[in-house]
Amino acid sequence: MALLLIAAFVASVALGAVFIPPGTILRILLNHLGGIHLLQDWPASSEAIILAVRLPHAVLVALTGAALASSGAAYQGLFRNPLADPYLIGVASGAGLGAVFAMSLNWPSTLLGFYLIPVGAFFGAIMTVILVYNLARVNGLVPLTTLILAGVAVGSFASALTSYLMLRTDLQLHRAISFLLGGSPMSGWEPVIAALPYMIVGMGLLSISGHTLNVLQFGEEEARQMGLHVDRAKVFVILVASLTTAVAVAFSGVIGFIGLIVPHIIRILWGPDYRRLIPLSILTGGIALLLADMLARILLAPSSLPVGIVTAMAGAPFFLWILRQAKREVFW
């Protein structure tokens, strides 16, 4: 899986308006990171493209996919519902609203401004998830139908507010926001640097929540009787999954269905144990979004599609398929 991730990563860096052979990429990387000084036999333009454009783009895409897939897996475990996905339950839209609100207050001309976007997104995400969870809960359970309905309603409301905010802002911000809503990762190293600390903390904490999520699958009362501090565990997972989603949304926009598809593929291949499901979702999420992003850049080359469109085109049929499976209670 890790090898696949590296392969997808290299392919993502290689592809683009100008194709750069993987061998060259590796030599450029070695020259810069490995402390080895190789004879420069590649055009300077290749080096510039890779270091300033493609590399940060690929890193951000991989991180975003990893974050969305792992938080999707965590939401599914928490709600005991196979259709929970940061996009479908409205958290992504809520995070988008928070991010746009933060941007409209202070358009990031500095790195500090970049660091504040995820904070806004985080508050948006937390507020949405709490609202959706309480709206969707019936007798202590979160049924499929109410969860999706509440998610769609709250998500639409958040998107509407976001559009309203967007129309009130100036042109530069307007463009940034429309990219965000379409699901296109930002460019350059600044968003990568701003996202990295949150992502490492968020995904690290999700990875150690596997056993908690396993025990929660038996219901809250039984989880208590098995010795789990249920209320504390739930708050912890909600906070961490929302933080992880929020950071992904803040820098890459609203990208749907990755958090739905990836954990399901892993469940089918490696079983339901969340202690493995979450780390594998991180790796596979990175691969999946890199692939989707390459498709997005190839389909309409030389211009590119927002990657959110590609994931939605692949994800919506998948969603319907899971819906049919869930009726037969294959997973839960």
Binding site: V215, E222, Q225, G227, L228
Partner: protein, 258 residues
């Protein structure tokens, strides 16, 4: 030893249990009987320490459950929930391992002691050959044994069972209850078990507590509590009780056939 002292539980303003006191000795089974809505399940849940209690005390070996953290509590009291259809793709072994929750480290990784406890719980419940099977694919009786094995993996001195034989056929009912009785005796576990079938209670319980509208109406040996007068009154239905021709245990059936 499980000691419940003057336990009162209320949901909102409705009192569900009124000053219930009882004691279950290690190695013994106490059956909790009574009509629907008498508070049997509430007593089981309260005894597991997860319900807020109005007044009274639940102690295990002198330790008050109210003073325990969830993890410590799960090392002294384990619960086998009501039989129901279990979904999920977890294997039997994974499900039983979840009983080890209070013993696992912060990463949720299991050690040798946890694996040994799970193996022993699987062996004692006869589930070894199902270890890799998804629980959803098992029959009702087998699923109930998984829940029992999970509770055993908690290695507690007290075991609570909430109508463990509901929805099971005669064979699985007797198998499960024999298993519980043997485990109680061999491991010196104090067992408190809510039950509906009075004849099974007569056969398997060492003591019987009769609960009616949250009151402990009677408590004692099966032949003392399972008498026509008390049972007819508690269930508001005339019954006849005769001794079992082989064991002498009380046999209860509806009386007054008119």
């Amino acid at each position: 030893m499980l000691t419940i002292t003057s336990l009162t539980v209320a949901y909102c303003d409705r009192i569900v249990l009124k000053k219930v006191s009882l004691e279950v000795m290690p190695g013994r089974i106490m059956a909790l009987i009574g009509p629907n809505g008498a508070g049997k399940s509430t007593l089981i849940r309260a005894a597991s320490g997860i319900l807020p209690i109005h007044s009274g005390k639940i102690c295990v070996g002198g330790r008050d459950l109210a003073d325990c953290l969830p993890g410590e509590r799960a090392k002294i009291v384990a619960v086998v929930p009501q039989a129901r259809q279990l979904g999920g793709a977890f294997s039997v072994e994974q499900a039983v391992m979840m009983g080890r929750t209070p013993y696992l480290n912060w990463l949720g990784r299991e050690g040798e002691a946890d694996k040994a406890a799970v193996r022993s719980a699987l062996r004692r419940t006869g589930l070894e050959k199902f270890a890799e099977r998804p629980i959803a694919k098992l029959s009702g009786g087998e699923q109930q044994r998984v829940l029992l094995a999970r509770a055993l993996a908690q290695e507690t001195p007290v075991l609570l069972l909430d109508e463990p034989t509901n929805h099971l056929d005669l064979q699985h009912q007797t198998n499960l209850l024999s298993l519980v009785r043997n485990l109680a005796q061999q491991q010196h576990i104090a067992v408190l078990m809510a039950m509906h079938d009075l004849n099974l209670v007569a056969h398997f319980a060492d003591k019987v507590a009769l609960l009616v509208s949250g009151d402990l109406m009677s408590m004692g040996l099966p032949q003392e509590v399972l008498c026509a007068e008390l049972i007819s009154k508690a269930y508001e239905t005339p019954v006849e009780v005769v001794p079992h021709p082989l064991t002498g245990a009380p046999l209860i059936f509806p009386g007054n056939r008119s």
